[in-house]
Symmetry: C2
Subunit: 115 residues, 2 copies
């Protein structure tokens, strides 16, 4: 991962398709190690959270354990102050994979396995 | 933390107060190291996510970095199959604090600090 890779911010709305958002999340995490998702309102948060579950599944095949840290964000929409929710998605242990990583094979059993 | 401590499941609804839920989350995490939150619907998810942000702030004073792992859960309500969202909250590095932990003081500056 290049040190300068910037973390992308995705804006998700009520009308966003969770599968499409999940693909964008996975791509951004592969590129820079993390992604930010910004939502305003319960419907948009719902789509973003469903997408997060799907992205977790996609990136689990690359050996990543994606976790979410939520925070509030003060933003302005059409000149009006609003409170958005921001979700940061990244690997639990800050691990990264390259954009072309095909997914890791399952790890071998521990050496003290009984078989 | 006792090894047998069971992870509590909180059910959050549209009408739940985020501050109250955050307090319950923090208490459950102090008791057992993690908490599960189950929601059905966008309004309930919104309250649960706001509460998660607040709980992160509460437990940061105890030195914990609370992260969320979302998943789908097939549940039954009044005999009807529904898909719920489940949020698992726990410390990023699986650290725990006792239920009576008053919060940790800020760590001292690193020993190679220039002052």
């Amino acid at each position: 991962m290049p040190a300068a890779a910037e973390v992308e911010t995705l804006k998700v709305s009520t009308k966003s398709n969770p599968n499409s958002v999940a693909g964008a999340m996975a791509g951004a995490i592969r590129s820079s190690g993390a992604v930010l998702v910004q939502v305003v309102g319960a419907g948009a948060l719902n789509q973003a959270t469903k997408a997060s579950v799907i992205a977790r599944g996609i990136l689990a095949t690359s050996g990543l354990d994606i976790i979410v840290t939520p925070s509030f964000a003060d933003i302005e929409i059409d000149g009006e102050a609003r409170t958005a929710l921001r979700l940061r998605l990244e690997d639990r242990e800050h691990r990264t994979v390259g954009p072309d990583d095909p997914g890791r094979p399952a790890p071998p059993p521990p050496s003290d396995a009984p078989w």
